[in-house]
Amino acid sequence: MTRIAAPTTNTRKAADVTLGKREQVASTLPWEALRDRATAARRDTTENLDELVAMFTRAATAAGHKVVRAADNAAACREVMAHLSSVPQVVIKSKSMVTEEIGLRHHMEALGFTVYETDLGEWIVQVRGELPSHVTAPAIHLSAAQIAETLSGVLGKSLSSDPIALTGVATDFLRQPLRASTLGISGANFLIAETGEVVVIENEGNAYFCTSAATHVVVTGIDKVIRSRSDLPALLRVLTVSATGQPQTVYTHVIGRATPGGPARTIVLVDNGRTELAKSAYAEASRCIRCGACMVVCPVFRQTTGHAYKTVYPGPIGILVAPYLEPEATPKDAPFFSTLCGACSDICPVRIPISALIAKRREQLWREGGTPVMVRQGVSLWKRAQAGGVLGVLLRPFLRALLRYPRLARLGQLTRREGRR
């Protein structure tokens, strides 16, 4: 019998590996100075979003790419399809959170296209019919045994749970489509406004093939824009160290001017709430570079996995960006999926005060009357106890007991779970 580990344990183990490597590599670098540089670059993006997007659009158009802007999910999917042949074909895709956000794969599959996710972790969650549970490590919630079980089912042969063997099987499976498909879709890690260049980083080599297919569509958020090439080194450094503890990824692609005979390239710039976020009281969250460090360090994420958040963007930063990028999927009580311990703010490479912003969302929810009933009643009980009088005197021993026996608080948890399902 193979022992299947619990998802939370898988997540915690993987998170600890990442945190350990991150700590070790960061200690060899001028880390705080790099964070300052990266933060300044991203602050520029948030504060001058319209200007930089317009600048990028001009430069990338001049570089021979087609650039289109999409206001929302449906428009983004439409724009992608408008640049493809209407005859369903085989599509190779590299990892992109934005395509998850807009539901592109499902949209294309419904139209008869065959879509291969070609990043290993992303392919695993694709065949399992799941969302990625982390922005850079999609299969972080799974054990090798679970992955072996899934892939054995898909490929119709019994596979061992050795990660090397499983990776080999996936590589073999994806090799032919990667090399043969003429239609590739990718995201982007950064867009350089001054030059119109698209930057994509990866470790496996799959993104190279996706971004060099005869037709290449880049689907990315307008917030990926940065002003200049000089912003790139610090940003790439803090991104890779924070995401995986690597000083740099194996591949860094800087895609420049179109060349004769090269890919026909369309860049779809997705807004979908980003302009609104950048102008909101939570604008600092728009600096996010999607490294996922706030997730692996978060006690709630580690315990519940990314899937608990119900949104494409999970974890502490997800609590802040999901209400703008995926309002319908965001649970109303999402700001309570946090202990406000501040670990996310401490680790964020672009110094987003994540914890303070989550507290602000809680306040907003309270003002709007959206706070879960248990929390509202709890707070009002506490207020009454504080207020004194006969009721206060009666309440205090009860509330003290509540603090002493945390199990009592489970009552609240049960009610909440019922409410959300």
Binding site: N10, K13, A14, V17, T18, A63, T118, D119, L120, G121, I124, A137, P138, A139, I140, L142, S143, A144, I147, P163, I164, L166, T167, T171, L174, R175, L178, R179, T195, E197, N203, E204, G205, N206, Y208, F209, S212, R229, S230, L232, P233, L236, T244, P247, Q248, T249, V250, Y251, T252, H253, V254, I255, G256, R257, T259, P260, G261, G262, P263
Partner: protein
């Protein structure tokens, strides 16, 4: 930074990134770029000493066969070496693509266990030509 200093940094970084660095043999000429079966023998446009990254510029007609190989041998001279990624970026004229290749393709998507060799080359060698004392 002198070529010797850069070469020393390159060798150190190569150890970290699993990139083999060796001097050209006395009888080894400056090669033509070839893709022969499983091995691509290329002229590196830049080599980043600080990370042992081989940087190539150009269009996908050049790059695709190289990225499809199992082994990549990159030939470099003193003037090919630069200290950091930013220096390599400064040399990119913006035409086509700049690709920085820092070690064998890899993944750690299953239980964070490092597996070497996915879709890109799984063996990287940098060959130093000319008067670079490695």
């Amino acid at each position: 930074m002198s070529a010797a200093t850069l070469a020393a940094r390159l060798i150190d970084a190569g150890r970290e990134s699993a990139v083999a660095v060796r001097p050209a043999r006395p009888d080894e000429p400056w090669p033509e770029e070839t893709v022969d079966g499983d091995t691509a023998s290329v002229i590196a446009d830049v080599v980043v000493a600080g990370s042992a990254a081989v940087v190539l510029f150009g269009d996908d007609a050049r790059l695709r066969p190289i990225l499809s190989c199992r082994a990549l041998v990159a030939h470099a001279r003193a003037e090919t070496l630069v200290p950091e990624f930013g220096d390599a970026l400064d040399r990119f004229d913006g035409s086509g693509r700049m690709i920085s290749i820092c070690g064998p393709s890899r993944t750690a998507d299953i239980e964070k266990k490092l597996v070497i060799g996915v879709h890109g080359p799984r063996e990287i060698t940098v060959v130093l030509h000319g008067d670079i004392p490695p």
